[in-house]
């Protein structure tokens, strides 16, 4: 009889403690995220996520979550291969500048991640569809993006996974930095048929190069991320390595190469002018993209 009572009390205690634990867990599962749009409380772990920027896709891939909708301008190839390999299929919700609110709403997401630079004006509308985080995407630098990744990881309840992966990432960058050991100045630029834009150390590509210990040929510390550069300015900047991402077949570089001043550029003499993918170097702006960029530049500098 006493045994039975003890058992019952035991069960009772176990039940009570389990309920406390469950309640505690439920409260703990409620996460408050501070972001550029204020504060958002997530009561459950989001499963259906819509993202409106390419660096967010990268962050989700690292966290092991597959987004159900991406603002990819209707072109799935804009997401780089490394990121695409880690996520499933998704629906396009339009362009980053004018995402279709209807398309987002019809996907019934439980979390939306939007860009502070582009979506401030529709933040209210997005919040009506689902809890929305406003984080920096346009003009983000390498270090800022790591911070953004941690916020996203917290929201998705994948902090441990992402932290571990970030540790491996930092180790990789450190080892690549040791392998490079070069004094050469490296510059990334975007080329169109109308001009050349240098990506300064404030831009994503520029800050990745800086993290690898590579020198920037730009004098002073420019406040802008993208500097439009004329041929004369390029001659003055004169980087040792020039990586170009081309947005059109024919660019101003072809014109400049016919000028007698071209041979005064050191990249013309050393042939250290390399064409790279603008999708990867300019558009992707994520951790996986940074790793790929670092590997590419290490490969180039070791030869």
């Amino acid at each position: 009889m006493v045994v039975i009572v003890c058992k019952r009390v035991g069960y009772f205690i176990a039940l009570i403690s389990m309920s406390f634990l469950a309640a505690f867990a439920a409260v703990a599962a409620e996460v408050v995220i501070k972001h550029d749009g204020g504060q958002t409380t997530l009561t459950t772990t989001p499963q259906r996520v819509v993202v409106l920027g390419y660096s967010f896709v990268d962050a989700l891939a690292v966290a092991g979550v597959s987004p159900i909708g991406i603002a990819d301008e209707g072109d799935k190839s804009r997401v780089i291969a490394r990121v695409r390999a880690k996520i499933g299929d998704w629906q396009s919700v339009g362009s980053r500048y004018q995402p279709s609110l209807e398309a987002i709403s019809s996907l019934k997401p439980d979390l939306i991640i939007a860009d502070t630079g582009r979506h401030q004006s529709i933040y209210q509308d997005l919040s009506r569809i689902a809890p929305t985080l406003l984080l920096k995407n346009r003009g983000v630098s390498y270090q800022e993006n790591i911070a953004v990744m941690r916020v996203i990881a917290r929201a998705l309840n994948k902090t441990e996974q992402v932290s571990a992966r970030l540790q491996r990432h930092h180790a990789l960058i450190k080892s690549l930095k040791a392998q490079i050991k070069s004094e050469a100045s490296v510059q990334f630029a975007i080329l169109t048929d109308k001009g050349m834009w240098l990506h300064s150390p404030k831009s994503y590509a520029g800050s990745v190069l800086k993290a690898l210990g590579l020198a920037s040929p730009i004098a002073g510390s420019p406040k802008q991320s993208y500097l439009q550069t004329s041929f004369e300015q390029l001659l003055k900047t004169n980087p040792d390595w020039l990586l170009v991402g081309k947005y059109s077949e024919v660019t101003v570089l072809d014109k400049w190469q016919t000028s007698p001043l071209w041979r005064m550029l050191s990249v013309a003499k050393t042939k250290q002018l390399v064409t790279v993918s603008p999708m990867l170097w300019s558009l992707a702006t994520g951790m996986l993209a940074a790793e790929q960029m670092a590997e590419e530049i290490t490969q180039l500098l070791k030869e």
């Binding site: 004018q98 209807e102 709403s105 630079g117 401030q120 004006s121 003009g139």
Partner: protein, 324 residues
């Protein structure tokens, strides 16, 4: 010519039908019963219907009315059926002022934009008005001054954009005449102006008919032409500026709606004002509905569609206009 009440009610019916179509179609298809249920009770599709399509529909109608009546008044005052506020630099001035505000204070709430646009629109109108007063230019000269002022404001806007490249796209989206991202917050700054000014235009309508007879005849009939012209122009500029403040420049509505109305009901302004308003609403609403549905989920700006439809029709009008 149809009897007036029948015409008015058929236009209203057409507008209601188009509204229904606009609410039904979009990136996501909705059935009619779903639509009715959502309008009354909310539910799953509450966001799409009540927070997205419905306010957008209402804004399109309001802006259409504003631009159309503004065009009608401008044409009456300048006495040239080919004048319109966007071609006179008023939209340019309104756009520049609002753009300046957006670029200098990106966090500004949307309620301040109509005020800024009004200031800009009135400055541009003041320049034109003064020129009209002092030099009595021919319609050709006035049109040219309008273009020059428009071009000036466009260059100023481009200058601002070149200096602040980070904001280029948001300014562009706003400037082109697009209803994307316009929700209930944009209706409240717009509605009061329309509620006051459109009935006021009806009130002016009778005097405007007299004005069309010529300044001396109108004066002889007891109309204070000076005051009438100022009030009409004031109303026109206010309506145009407020519409531009909410949606950017939606071209050709102020030019075409009065014309189409004249084809239907003749030249009496008392009849013209309501018909013009309805036609303007129809124009902008159909442009926006098409813009949303041509290539979902990508959206075109409504202003492009009005220009695509408007320019050829304008040219057709040009070739038929006998009053050279």
């Amino acid at each position: 010519m149809k009897p007036y009440p029948i015409l008015l009610s058929s236009l209203l019916a057409l507008l209601l039908l188009l509204s229904g179509v606009s609410l039904l179609f979009g990136a996501e298809q909705i059935s009619i019963d779903n639509l009715v249920a959502t309008l009354w009770q909310g539910g799953d599709l509450d966001f799409i219907v009540n927070q997205y399509r419905l306010p957008r529909l209402l804004i399109a109608v309001l802006v259409g009315i504003g631009l159309a009546v503004s065009g009608l008044l401008t044409q009456a005052v300048i006495r040239n059926p080919l004048a319109s506020p966007d071609l006179m630099g008023i939209s340019g001035g309104a756009g520049f002022a609002a753009c300046l505000l957006l670029l200098v204070w990106p966090q500004i709430g949307s309620v301040w934009l109509p005020l800024a646009a009004l200031v800009g629109g009135f400055s541009a109108a003041a320049i034109i008005w003064l020129l009209n007063r002092w030099h009595q230019p021919s319609p050709a000269r006035l049109a040219l001054v309008g273009i020059a002022i428009s071009a000036f404001f466009t260059s100023c806007i481009d200058f601002l954009l070149v200096l602040n490249p980070v904001e280029v796209n948001s300014a562009m989206v706003w400037l082109t005449g697009s209803l994307w991202g316009r929700n209930w917050d944009y209706i409240w700054p717009l509605l009061p102006w329309l509620l006051i000014l459109v009935p006021f235009s009806l009130y002016l309508a009778w005097s405007l008919d007299l004005l069309a007879l010529g300044d001396e005849s109108a004066n002889a009939l007891g109309v204070n032409t000076e005051r009438l012209q100022i009030s009409a122009l004031f109303t026109a500029v206010a309506l145009a500026s407020v519409s531009v403040a909410v949606c950017g420049t939606i071209a050709f509505v102020g030019l075409l709606a009065p014309h189409a109305a004249r084809l239907l009901v003749g030249f009496r302004h008392q009849l013209l004002v309501p018909v013009t308003a309805l036609i303007g609403a129809l124009l902008v609403l159909s442009a926006d509905t098409l813009a949303r549905n041509l290539a979902p989920p990508m959206e075109l700006p409504a202003g492009v569609l009005t220009a695509t439809l408007g320019a050829p029709y304008f040219i057709f009008l040009l070739s038929r206009y006998k009053g050279w």
